[in-house]
Amino acid sequence: MNRREFAKLMGVSAVALSGIPLGITRAAGQTKGGTLNTIIQPEPPILVTALNQQQPTLTLGGKIYESLLRYSPDLKPLPGLAQSWEVSPDGLTYTFKLFPGITFHDGKPLTADDVIFSMTKLLPETHARARGIYSRIEKADAPDPLTVVFKLKSTFAPFLTALDCTTGPIVPKHIYDGTEYRKNPANAQAIGSGPFKLKEWVKGSHVHLVKHEGYYRKDQPYLDEIIYRIIPDSASRAVALEQGKIQLTQWNDIEMFDVARLSKLPNFEMTTKGYEYFAPHQWLELNNRIKPMDDKRFRQAIAYALDLKSMAQRVYFGLPKVATGPVSSATRFYEKDVKRYDYSLDKAKALLDEMGLKPGAGGKRVTIKYLTPPYGEIYQRAAEFIRQSLGRVGIDVQIENTDVGGWAEKFSNWDYEMTGNLVYQFGDPALGVSRTYISSNIKKGILFSNTAGYSNPEVDRLFEEAATSTSEAKRQELYSQVQKILVEDVPVVWMFEQAYPTFIDKRLKNVTTTAIGVHESFSDVSFG
């Protein structure tokens, strides 16, 4: 007896319990219709991606707000709102042609003016990451309503890589111009131009998106609606997946230790693709200001003492790839020919001995505090692995736990000895990598800056030159050089190219076809 039969037996209307109304039709080879049920957690505070860039906001907001470009898994630009684009030979002028007939959810047309307003006025005011990129625009013009011309102050190679929906969401000028952006009452409606619009948001329960009828791409979106359910408990999320109540999970909806079990579900496919643009890079952050971590030999010893291959297996159940340096192999300008720190307790001990850190009572050489990142149980397991590994070479690690507020406060104010960090690469080393190592970004109180306090003028120079060079070959050469220097210096101990399990119902098509993955607009996602 299942729930429906049981309900009938108990005299309950079966209508209320009839599950997902699919209502799928098949016309001209393309399956249309259907409701995608999925998860969002934690619950985002608002849905306007231009004003808030927390990860759940971006996942949901990606369906509501679009940007000029999308990106293929190997980070080549694809048409977004812009159907074509051109870069002048001097690398300073970028011209974008918009698709005709784009409308916002309130029916008003989206034109070049909205693009210029969003990218040169609103985003530089509200979006920390976009500010650093779009403030390089010297002049923006709209020769006609479907053409946007940006002229940069100086060459900036990754400009064309920074037009995705998480960095450059286009908002309606007629709603935001001249208002206090963060206090605009229209923020609650989240008016964008994406394939889905907000129908209902019951706080604590779900967010209901429905098809934007005026969407500019022919026949898209294929789905009728998407329901994001807020399920805060990871065990309950696993149950929802097992029961088929949801057809998609993303990011850390499913804990790594559940992946092997849930991968056996016959109706789901598990993939770790679709995170290439973000390429989350995980490392052990060492406060370079504090003895003995100010000594490169000590940092190298830690790199030798961590058996990352077995940590990837035991803690992360084989999902991530071991990182070899500051740049992820999933992104561009990766250099694989760098110094390697293969697991070796002897090498680690030799380095520590050489430094004069002799083992004292009980084999302890030094005691270091580790501030566990507060992003879930997996980080606690990782902390325990690190404590045991470093204990073997006489580094006594004491684990401290806190929550996001406490971690951010201590970490950003350099009030830590060792912690874990996970940083997105954003498709180009100039966007996501250099910020961790250049000395101009040593900023107290700011997260994801150069928090370790590493400083090397040569590294500064190489990163600077690579960001402004317009030759791909030249950039590769400079980035290869800088990666070799950094790997020798080990300002932080790189651990993993983090992978996230995305479970997709086998009937669903086109979920992770771009580098933006689950943050993508889903305009071409369909059942079958």
Partner: protein, 340 residues
Amino acid sequence: MTAVSVDAKGDRVFAIALALAGWVIKFIAVVLVIATFNFILVHAAPGDPAQVIAGQSGASDEKLLAQLRAEYGLDKPYPIQLATYLKRVVTLDLGYSYRQQRTVASLILERLPATLLLTATAFSLALLSGIILGTLAGVRAGKWSDTVLTVVSLLLYATPVFWLGLMLVLLFSVQLDWLPAFGYVTIGVPMTALQRMVDIGWHLILPAVSLAAVYLAIYTRLMRSSVLDVTHQDFIKTAKAKGLKQGRIIIRHILRNAMLPIVTVAGMQAGALVGGAVVIETVFAWPGLGRLIYDALLQRDYPVLLGVFLVMSVIVIALNLLTDAIYRVIDPRVSVRAAS
């Protein structure tokens, strides 16, 4: 109880009015002290809402932090923030959550019905079955049925509530597929008002039973010992000697007297039920107040956190007053205390 009973009718009204005035003053004083204490506690936690947002956005800079801090009013010194807050409390203004772009009052009102439905159901369930089971165990003390009840209630008491919730989900949702595993209503299906009520009822069963289980164990054990206590009193012997039937003795004499400690404990726990629902609300994705508090705490959303704390303390104080009133109904020896 050394309360002075006042017999004359006019004096009695006066005494009640005085007592009420005393309550109101006490009530306001307690609320203000609690509000101040809440403020200090909440701000003592490291980090602030701006840092949390930065920590979850993967990028940050000085301008973002300064903007957010100014918006949240965090750029002013603590004493000024506290004064602003107390002024608002006095004018019954719970404030505004910039993070959620909503007034705190609307956020709380939106979540309160779900929590009250869950906790009131669980509470009634626990209280009612606790009294019945406890009485049964008490009058059969020493027999096998008493032993079974005692062991079961001890087990329930020792079971972590989230574990029990998950086990019930595994059995009734995953294995048997009888009951929904999470949420409070089926989403995306058009329903009539009646269908919706029934649907919510189905979703309510598992969380309410899980939440009730622990409290049920407490009431059962308390009721059992209370019944045992009363059974050995002289007036019960008298009742037996009078030749009253067992059933009548239990209902008229034992129950009524044995209820007093239950009312005391239940009154104290009714307040805790609002907060105690955090775990159950999380496990069952129930959109209640408990989760609002938990999220607000992690996000350092001070206005929401302070607002919920305040509302909860008002509820707890009100419930304590209600307990006092119930005492007077059940136990005629307790009367309105005249202010001397």
